[in-house]
């Protein structure tokens, strides 16, 4: 008997595909590792000030995010089939005011990391050491607002902040190694891992360096793409 992965099943509810290829989603493995192994969050604690915060900055293509949240019980499966319809809480970009567990409304690029820096500062001011994890795309780093944020995060030693860059080389002007080098220049703790390897992701995302923020560059490049 073929075991159908629940996330794949949930994704199929949204896409209607007969067999869903989860590799189509560059963020899916990162999201699964975060919600299944790393983040201290649950549907019962969406208002707990001490919960970890996950900010999906790259709000485009949120199907994988919705599937993972649904799998963790944040909202019912029945929502998935109707996504994008007028009365659905699930839009093509997520809205924190409509979806339990969604920490920020995103879609326009370059807002999540600045919001994450503010969130980490707000928690620090209240003596709460919960983690703030922000997911950005490599092309999203084109936006200059990110660079304002990553400079300040390092200057203020925000060690509760983790950025995970899903790098599928979608920016138009790729410079190999630039992302890791830029964060390193600013003083961040940097790890580059295979963005499909759950154990590597778990190890890198669980790291809590003291006194500096943490970035994980999760490389998600298909071998066919590289050969092309």
């Amino acid at each position: 008997m073929e075991v159908v992965d629940n996330i794949d099943r949930l994704l199929t509810l949204m896409t209607g595909d007969e067999k869903h290829d989860s590799a189509a989603y560059s963020t899916l493995d990162v999201l699964r590792v975060l919600y299944e192994r790393v983040l201290d969050v649950s549907p019962e604690r969406v208002d707990d000030p001490r919960r970890d915060r996950f900010l999906l900055s790259k709000g485009h293509g949120p199907a994988a995010y919705y599937a993972v949240l649904c799998d963790r019980g944040f909202f019912p499966e029945s929502w998935l089939g109707e996504w994008g319809t007028f009365d659905s809480p699930l839009g093509y970009h997520p809205d924190r005011n409509l979806v339990p567990g969604v920490e920020i409304s995103s879609g326009s690029l370059g807002h999540g990391l600045p919001l994450g820096v503010g969130t980490a500062l707000g928690l620090r001011a209240q003596g709460i050491d919960s983690r703030v994890v922000v997911l950005v795309g490599d092309a999203e780093l084109d936006e200059g607002s990110n660079h304002e944020a990553l400079e300040l995060a390092a200057a203020l030693g925000l060690d509760t902040l983790t950025v995970v860059v899903v790098d599928n080389r979608s920016t138009s002007y790729v410079v190999p190694g630039r992302i890791a080098a830029r964060f390193a220049t600013e003083g961040w703790h940097v790890a580059t891992v295979d963005g499909r390897d759950h154990d590597q992701l778990e190890k890198a995302l669980s790291e809590r360096p003291v006194g500096v923020p943490n970035v994980v560059v999760a490389t998600v490049i298909d071998e066919e793409e590289l050969a092309a």
């Binding site: 409304s105 807002h111 503010g118």
Partner: protein, 304 residues
Amino acid sequence: MTVTVTPTRLVRDPRMQFALTATDLLDEDFSTALVWAEISGRFFGDAVRRHPDRVVNVGIREQLLVNVGAGFALTGMRPIVHTFGTFLVERGFEQIKLGFGHQGLGGVLVGGGGSFDASRGGRTHQAPGDVALMDTLPDVVIHAPGTAEETDEVLRRAVAADGLHYVRIVEQTNAESFRGPGLHVVRRGSGATVIALGPVLDEVLAATADRDVTVLYAHSVRPFDSGGLRSVIGTPDVVLVEPWLAGTSARVVSDALQDLPHRLLSLGTRRMELRHYGTPAEHQRAHGLDAAGIRRSMESFLAG
């Protein structure tokens, strides 16, 4: 957590008053934060020393400034976010629209400089369009205090309230302070109604000294006090004077009087760039917002 409140020392300069009152609010309410971007740093020394975790200078990073404020709000705190109005509202307007508006978060944005403070600095440091731009957002509360005392009152009210507030702090002041939101009846007459918003009241009073008109004043620009206007309006001639982009509040006056045939003259800064330097008073005059200019426009309108 709240500690004993002593009244804030009042000074004459609205910007210094903003800093003094903000510092006291930080002392009084531990859920208050102040986020700033180099500008006005010389006023924030005490606040920085006393509350290093709640008073954050982000450097010259205005997009970040707004979203860091919104991030504080995401954790349940009430941020005061400050720089010059042009950098606060215009440079990163999408940050305001999305970081506060779309997220459904509240905060108090305090923009300095307005239309005239940087008369010698040129267009780069002037924000005559800030009120109009903020007015594109739903439910935003906009304050334009006309004195330091009003600045103290408005800031306290905005920080204690919910939602998104914009406080416009400028050096121009009126002689008299008025407490509370809504339209204040400064003078009753039987003719036209003249509405002064923010620090243009003294010019309006001088321009109308010998005319039988009603003069209304508000430092609360949004929401607009429609009921207050309707309750005093006599002849259906309305003159609106605001020291930012002309016509910014014409919409709300028209809405207030939509079932009443009326005429409206909207005075404010003109759209053209002056490309002149000099004093704030010279700029007010060039935009026709000194007493003589207001009188000229009003007489021509009322004679019509």
